[in-house]
């Protein structure tokens, strides 16, 4: 792609984002909160004076102070820096999942919708199989088996196994309805081949949805990771939101011991992240698919 075209796309993305930002309150709120979260996770976390993974790096069970804004945990970790690292790592997992799942879903949905026939039936059979199998139990089994090799990216990839089928079905449905529209016939009559029709005629309608789906998948993955974490099936050697809850809740009984900062922080943080992504997604949805009165 030429430099000029690339620049053009960047400018377009910027102006569209500005448009959505200006017009949709939900997006504005969500986006602002997201900025806060991303700053915490990807900028602030690098200034940590210690490695938050190290246990007993600081005196344990301290109340909040200037040195330790959210206090310290029974494992001897500074809660604030642990939080920042957890946000970062949970986001890494979620981004991994979203990148893989939404694009696999898009690809499969496109092929199934446009080709139809036997290929469509095979792909949908696979998709439906995965939709039916309950996600959490499946992941529990898979992760237990792969426990010793589990890393952040790998967990992200595994969660994507249970999140690709839904977008595949949705994209296929959209392609099927778009396929019948008159301008597709016009395109074919103008000599455009199947691939070109997909790219120039159908894709523009899917991009908005795809972005929303990407955002929703991140949402889903954060929730999944948190859930797995509580069960001790996340990446225990790292800091993630789920792992943080795991240690606090299960191993050190923070709830019973009244250590609300330690257990509360990851819960509030994941709720906050969840809501931010949700608002962003809703804002995008209102912009791309305005409801007709």
């Amino acid at each position: 792609m030429s430099k000029a075209k690339y620049l053009g796309i960047m400018v377009k993305v910027y102006s569209v984002t500005r448009n959505i930002y200006a017009s949709k309150i939900k997006f504005r709120l969500g986006f602002m909160s997201l900025i806060v979260i991303l700053l915490l996770g990807f900028v602030v976390s690098f200034f940590a004076p210690m490695d938050p993974r190290r246990i007993y790096a600081v005196p344990k069970d301290l109340p909040p102070s200037i040195e330790h804004p959210l206090g310290t945990s029974t494992m001897g970790r500074d809660v604030f820096w642990e939080l920042c690292a957890s946000i970062r790592n949970s986001m890494v997992i979620a981004l991994m999942t979203a990148l893989i799942a939404s694009h696999i879903g898009l690809f499969i949905g496109l092929i199934a919708g446009i080709k139809g026939g036997t290929l469509d039936r095979i792909l949908m059979f696979m998709t439906d199989t995965f939709i039916i199998i309950p996600g959490l139990p499946l992941l529990m089994v898979v992760i237990t088996v792969l426990k010793q090799w589990i890393t952040l990216p790998l967990l992200g990839a595994l969660i994507s196994i249970v999140s690709w089928p839904w977008p595949a079905r949705q994209v296929r449905a959209m392609v099927l309805s778009l396929r019948e529209r008159t301008f597709i016939y016009t395109a074919m009559l103008s000599g455009m081949g199947m691939a070109k029709v997909l790219l120039r005629e159908i894709m523009p309608y899917l991009l908005g949805w795809h972005l929303i789906n990407f955002t929703n998948t991140i949402l889903f993955a954060i929730g999944m990771e948190t859930g797995l974490g509580i069960l001790g099936l996340s990446v225990l050697g790292e800091n993630t939101l789920g792992v943080m809850i795991y240690w606090a809740l299960n191993q050190y009984f923070a709830l019973y011991r009244g250590m609300f900062l330690w257990i509360g922080t990851p819960i509030v943080a994941s709720t906050f992240i969840f809501i931010s992504f949700y608002l962003t997604s809703m804002g995008l949805s209102e912009y791309f698919h305005p409801r007709m009165k």
Binding site: T182, T186, L189, S190, P204, Y205
Partner: protein
């Protein structure tokens, strides 16, 4: 193979399944045969909604495969063409559609399709040549490239878009254009402009049309030949003036008399029977119109009538047996 026919539709049927597991089959197009001579003429396929004319149009354009029968264009089966031949077919046979706002992708610029046609069908890779070609095509329709360039469909009126649609169809210099209800969404005062364009194209450029419509008035005005369809079957066929003025088939008669026209007030206000349950009619063992036909008798309900020839017109009705 008869080479004097431009287009041969040989006993084409299209079966759709519905219901649980798609087991109930109904024939949207039921054993229809049509022959279009290799002369610039306009053949109208007329009928009400649900008669199968749009499905037939899609089959003729190669967008839908027939369940039975075949469509031959210049003696070649259009559903069995090799890729190179398919391009040739696209150049020869073009189409215009009903809704000018749906004919073009609302998210794309309208001229994009004209350029695509120039590039893919005429192989004009040079942008200068392509612009020239597109510009000429638009001018022929009374539009200029300057006014059209870079705009989206929503920025034009229905009439303008339909002209652009015709311009696009004319670019590869086709022999046959299939026009599916091309003026039903255009305001009445501007319809004749488009219809007159078809007349001009037939006379000056020698292009044939298959004009699909439910409006018998415009059909009478512009067609050479006409075929009347009812619930998937062709019920009457022949030269337009004869079919519409002599009205052999009872359905043709009902259709023509139901046309509200100035000066026909008294006849129009007389009572008629409307059609009944549609699906039942599609699946009828005998003549599909028999149920409502005011002249039906026993044979009509049991056996499907073949085409009889009456005074140069083909009619599928038992009333004309042995004539």
């Amino acid at each position: 193979m008869d080479t004097k026919f431009l287009l041969q539709v040989e006993k084409v049927s299209k079966v759709f399944g519905y219901g649980f597991l798609g087991r109930i089959k109904f024939r949207a197009v039921d054993s229809v045969s049509l022959y279009k001579e290799d002369e610039p003429k306009i053949l109208t396929i007329a009928g009400e909604s649900g008669c199968g004319k749009t499905t037939l149009a899609r089959i003729i354009l190669g967008f839908l495969e027939p369940s039975e029968g075949a469509v031959m264009y210049k003696s070649r089966d259009i559903h069995r063409l090799k890729p190179k031949e398919r391009l040739w077919f696209r150049r020869e046979v073009q189409a215009i559609f009903q809704d000018p706002y749906e004919t073009f992708n609302p998210m794309r610029k309208v001229d994009a399709y004209l350029y695509e046609a120039a590039k893919n069908l005429l192989e004009l890779k040079n942008p200068g040549e392509a612009s020239e070609c597109v510009g000429e095509g638009l001018e022929f329709m009374g539009l200029s490239l300057k006014d059209v360039e870079g705009k989206h469909p929503s920025e034009f009126s229905g009439g303008q878009l339909q002209r652009m649609s015709i311009a696009r169809a004319l670019l590869p210099k086709p022999r046959l254009i299939v026009a599916d209800e091309p003026v039903s969404m255009i305001d009445a005062s501007m319809r004749m402009n488009i219809i007159n364009i078809f007349k001009e194209l037939r006379e000056k450029l020698g292009i044939s049309f298959i004009y699909i419509t439910h409006d018998l008035a415009t059909a009478f005005y512009v067609s050479n030949d006409i075929g009347i369809m009812y619930r998937g079957s062709m019920v009457e066929e022949g030269p337009a003036e004869k079919v519409l003025l002599e009205r052999h088939h009872p359905y043709t008669k009902a259709l023509v008399t139901s046309l509200p026209q100035p000066g026909k007030r008294v006849e129009w206000l007389k009572r008629t029977r409307a059609s009944g349950m549609e699906i039942k009619e599609f699946l009828a063992p005998g003549c599909k119109y028999a149920n409502i036909c005011p002249q039906n008798f026993e044979k009509c309900m049991k056996e499907r009538p073949p085409m009889f020839t009456v005074k140069g017109v083909k009619v599928a009705c038992w009333l004309y047996e042995g004539q």
